[in-house]
Symmetry: C2
């Protein structure tokens, strides 16, 4: 079943208004949820919406709270999100980082006490659309053991780097785990093995069995020791620059709320966009492993899905869609 | 055989002066080569020195050239390295990024036409030592196929993130390939298998055999498609912000010379260093895969090696040491 973008957005907005969101916030958050589904990130679009509604009902998201600037040092700012809706605060923070970058070449906003921003890439696309190179970092609840360890102590701390490009922005949006728990579940439900090792099983062996890895709670960091180190550093960056909670402290709280985030922009209005064009063409000039596949740049698949879903409507799970209509 | 730090540095300096380096440049580059060996990065210390000398003799490094600022937009600058010694230009660029950050909260210098900086981490340690969070990016010659491809089209484009910390800076220094060619050779010479898959063999199968992977020229990006995407984005960042050569253009030149680099600093004087302390302690509180191993933060091993080598002298390959003494 496919739903037009506007219909999806309107449904989300109706529910958010009912939850006490202002017109501005309901419009913004509904658009982001709908765009996430439109771009094929269903896990943070429609599929996540009922979970978000529950978090609001549980009081983990402060519907009316307004993020507040605490300090400014040159082109860097520190904000307190006061647990306002994460998408709202992330949008405001990225807008501010963009404005700082337009004026000063670069700008950065670190936010403590904020909430889940849903799809990390959203704010990268936003920076690129505004003509900026954007970096976005967040921490999460602990969901991955460090290299050499057996217990979850690291977040999968998504990392976004976005670069504006006429023909379609380059947007890297990657978590530090090879597969998220959502992805593992997807493979499990389809009864499929993972394409590459996704973690360790209870016996400490690398495994392509999504159920085994989930059960053992031992997902694999990208690049083994490397992703483990990068995840730790990203937590240090967001928590220390914002003065906010680290992965351990979020985990101790029991909910993925009150996280720390960082938005950093570099003005890219003067860069020569033919550079990225040449890099993409050179990369695609490699021979292929499978002739039916292709080599893609980060953001390419999202854009293709967006174009298809804009034309044909956004695929939705009928049960979830009905659930939202009934809210 | 172990050599005191000062003796190593003096030997390097003598050779560099003979090659026409000024006193200042010879001192700086000799110190960096010696520090790289001291910190256990032998591949970019003594072991690399004869290769560097040859590159100077081949005219790929312009001994006397002075990097030049081309443009400034707020806190961001674009420089031309004019193919001066890479360590010299990288040091100057990082010093400038630090100064910009101290004054404005953040600063960034993008450098085109520069040369190999040897150990990437050097400039991260430098930023952290100055009380800044430092990001360093560089591109390289193509040495890794993109995900889905069979031919080298991506560089292993090292990424550095450094955060100052009283008890020892956190310095992540990671290339985008799971193992460098140097590492593959190290395992091959020892007749050892890689601890995890390092790439594909000629038959397109994942392999732990370092010789097979080297022969096929199909090293694996960290996290498969993820490291492949990150490598591409890092090339786009350094080449487009500096207006310099991309991986493809460096590769077409036939030598790893005239590369593009980026140095970005955030002033960290005001951050609460207990945050990183808590993150490290929490991470280390995980159960261990092997009781005799431990969980380490990025930079921990380098610091331990540094302390040992400072006390006991720096281990050198006798043949290479003699080779340098004979230069």
């Amino acid at each position: 079943m496919r739903i037009p973008f506007e219909e999806l957005k309107a449904a989300f907005k109706r529910v958010l208004l009912k939850l006490g969101f202002t017109e501005e916030r309901a419009t913004l958050c509904a658009r982001i949820f709908a765009e996430n589904s439109r771009d094929g990130v269903y896990s943070h679009g429609l599929n996540r919406f009922p979970v978000f509604v529950q978090m609001v009902k549980d009081g983990l998201v402060a519907v009316d709270a307004e993020p507040e600037k605490l300090t400014q040092h040159g082109v860097t700012e520190q904000w307190d999100g006061h647990r306002a809706p994460g998408m709202y605060t992330a949008t405001k923070a990225m807008q501010r980082a963009i404005a700082l970058a337009k004026e000063n070449g670069m700008g950065c906003v670190a936010v403590r006490n904020t909430n889940h921003w849903m799809r990390a890439g959203t704010y990268g696309w936003m920076a690129a659309e505004a003509g900026c190179i954007g970096f976005c970092f967040t921490n999460t609840i602990a969901n991955m053991p460090p290299w050499g360890g057996t217990d979850p102590r690291l977040g999968n701390n998504p990392l976004v780097i976005a670069v504006p490009r006429q023909e379609g922005h380059i947007v890297l949006d990657m978590a530090m785990s090879q597969f998220s728990y959502g992805k593992l579940q997807e493979y499990e439900l389809k009864g499929k093995a993972l394409p590459v090792d996704g973690g360790y099983n209870e016996n400490g062996q690398l495994s392509k069995d999504p159920a085994e890895v989930s059960e053992a709670e031992r997902t694999l960091p990208i690049g083994f020791w490397k992703g483990s180190g990068l995840s730790l550093v990203l937590d240090v960056l967001v928590a220390s620059l914002s003065g906010g909670r680290s992965v351990g402290e979020i985990t101790a709280g029991g909910n993925e709320a009150g996280v720390s985030q960082l938005f950093l922009c570099i003005n890219a209005e003067q860069i020569d966009q033919t550079v990225s064009e040449r890099i993409i063409q050179y990369t695609k000039s490699s021979g292929l492993v499978n002739e039916q596949d292709d080599i893609r740049y980060p953001g390419e698949s999202s854009l293709a899905t967006r174009r298809r879903n804009e034309k044909e409507g956004i695929p939705v799970n009928e049960g979830l869609w009905q659930q939202v209509l009934d809210l």
